[in-house]
Amino acid sequence: MRIDLEARGTRSRTLEVAAPLIALAVAILIGGIVVALLGKSPAQAFHVYFIAPLSEVWSLQEVAVKAAPLVLIAIGLSFCFRANLWNIGAEGQFVMGGLAGGAIGVATHGMSPDAQTFWILPAMLAAGTLAGIAYAMIPALLRAKLGVSEILTSLMLVYLAERTLDYFARGPLRDPKGFNFPQSVMFDDVARLPFLMEGERLHVGVLFALIAVAIGVVVLGRTLFGFDVRLVGSAPKAARFAGFSDARLTYAAFAISGGAAGLAGICEVAGQIGQIQPIISPGYGFTAIIVAFLGRLQPIGILLAGLILSLSTIGGEGAQISMKLPLDMTRAFQGILLMCVLAADVFTRYRVRLSFGSRA
């Protein structure tokens, strides 16, 4: 018996939309089986993961706050992935953004009260974005100039970024009065992202994510640059025939994804955390890869996918507490989800045919 994949002549629109939903359902099913094997109730787990976080205002806000960096990074990544550029290093670009912006927050700590402070937060955001761009330029340059695989370089640079942050948190940026804890001072209020509403958890970073989605829609669908990105991914030779430069696109797509990741990084540091710590990301840069693909590399899809992944992360925290399910369960589920999405993609493009003919 042999399994053949036959390309489908016409792809159904319904199927293309339904595929990620079916993938989500299958992933939940597999996750349920795993939970059952762990001796827990799948029904209860489903409730804790996907229903409970939606039932209270504070946890809804938490879902939005956690979804914001995922969506922001994934929108940036979608430019790379659509152009067949495999930037796996958003995590590193996120960390560098958080570090560079955060350094300004540390440096301006305790400035004299009559000094001008309005520039501090914008400078932090700009520094974070630029650091993300600069860090993403390393794999872009290596690829465009020397043909080095960006998959390897961008991934390896993640570990370099994490070590760098760790060094600064324990060394130059450590709070001298912090009892030797490896962390910086808490930023002044002027160096913190303002909240959207007094006393709530939603900060301005959530707005950035929504703006990124809107920009993504316009740029991909309406601009010559977005046309170039889509064309390179779909038919690279046709993109050269159209007169678009490979190298220029590589730099631009990496700059966009690096900048978005860097901005997300400084938003996390200046928003949620408020200081430099040795670890500032629970793996947003990697989870955003799943978000990008689950959202079919479409801005609106990415927004929904970011919310779903964030929901499962918040739910996972609840499951740790109420069901004693390990954190690894959440990670495993997100991995299963990515595999299901990729598999669903294959099935929408190809028809599986079993042939039983024996070889002559």
Partner: protein, 516 residues
Amino acid sequence: MPEPQSPSAGAPLVSMRGIVKRFGAFTANAGIDLDIHAGEAHALLGENGAGKSTLVKILYGLLEPSEGQILFQGAPVRFANPEAARATGIGMVFQHFSLFDNLSVAENIALVLPRGESLRNLSQRIDDIAQRYGLRLDPERPVWTLSAGERQRIEIARCLMQDPKLIVLDEPTSVLTPQEAEALFATLDVLKREGRAILYISHRLEEVRRLCDRATVLRAGRVVGACDPRAETARSLAAMMVGTHVVEVRASAVEDVGPERLGLNHLSLPSPDLHGVTLHDLSLHVRAGEVFGIAGIAGNGQDELFAAISGERLAGASDAVRLDGTCVGRQGITARRQFGAAFVPEERNGHAAAPDFSLMENAILSRHATGGVAGRAFLDLAGARSLASDIIQRFDVRAGGPDAPARTLSGGNLQKFLVGREISRSPSVLVLNQPTWGVDASAAAAIRQLLIDLSRAGSAVLVISQDLDELFEISDRIAVIHDGFLSEPRDTRSTTREEIGLLMGGASMADVTHAH
């Protein structure tokens, strides 16, 4: 063994009965009956999309018929895959070769032998077959050093190793010089004399008349006629295929040849990769009002030349490429378009067009820098839509409107769209690579007429083609590209196919002139 002269006597070797093949709502074969007798060369004729390939794929076990039956020597057979078809005695030589470039001839042949067959004496067996059928082959040569004709001989030898009773050939001469084609015909004559049947698919009606004893004509998935091609003319065969009279392309004599619009000036360019071709010191001048043809066998530098003229690869020197007197050798394709040039590459899906993009988006692809479909940053979607609609209407493109993805169009219709996309700009220079490759007869005639009309309106048209008939039909002058060298151009009216054929095979201009 039946006499080749009366091949239809006796029971058929292969009989296809009531073959139906549907792909979703589309019926590619709508009840086809076909009998092939031992010892005959049977032509299968039809335009692109008539259902020839589908029928042959069913015969070779690559597709399963929706309905109908295949009889082999009177007994019903079902082929689950090509291995089963080969084991029964049906061999096939494809239009596109499936060879490993870095392996030797013998290794490529060994790859398709049935499992468990000994590789000892393989060279001896290859030599035997080569001797018997006049297939000159060196078993030790790596494939990438071979010409298309030699590669085809490997495919034929591979096929013959399994001693087939029926051999299917799909467009076998499309990549051959006239001389190589003659050698192929000699081989096929031997096969016929041995009592093997040949099913021959070709667009080239003169060849069919030269080689085949019978012809079956398909149109829109049905058999519309059977004839003895030797008793027909190429025009009557074409009329049978198309169902109407084929409009003959009308080339008015060139009255005024104007100044040079496209010039190449000692263009040299190293090969872009291991198996590419280096261009050596090419010069040519295409003038306003003329169609200039470049003949050559596939893989002799046509793609490299096209990329150098279009600007997809930049030349070393700025004056190596001139458009209307401006040196553009160091400028990219967008700048060259802005100077008035337009280009139609060979590969429709993936180079000239993005298959998954709509026709509207494909209109943007080559027109974004010359106005009407995009500004500096933003697309003008309304402009692109109306441009695509205009092209569809003006050039008679059968498509589901400007939103239809390019891949849903037939080869001929997509090519009409792509040629129309460039011509509707009224370019001063139009460069095309294989403009009617795999395009049905009526679309090909329409495209050729467009090229002539464009040139007569004052543009310079450069056509790179492997189809000599096409070049003789439309060009005013012809040059030959061989191994990256370009011959002196010849006036079409004062040269012959034989002369061009010799140049295509690598003879020098001196040899050719000497032979006269």
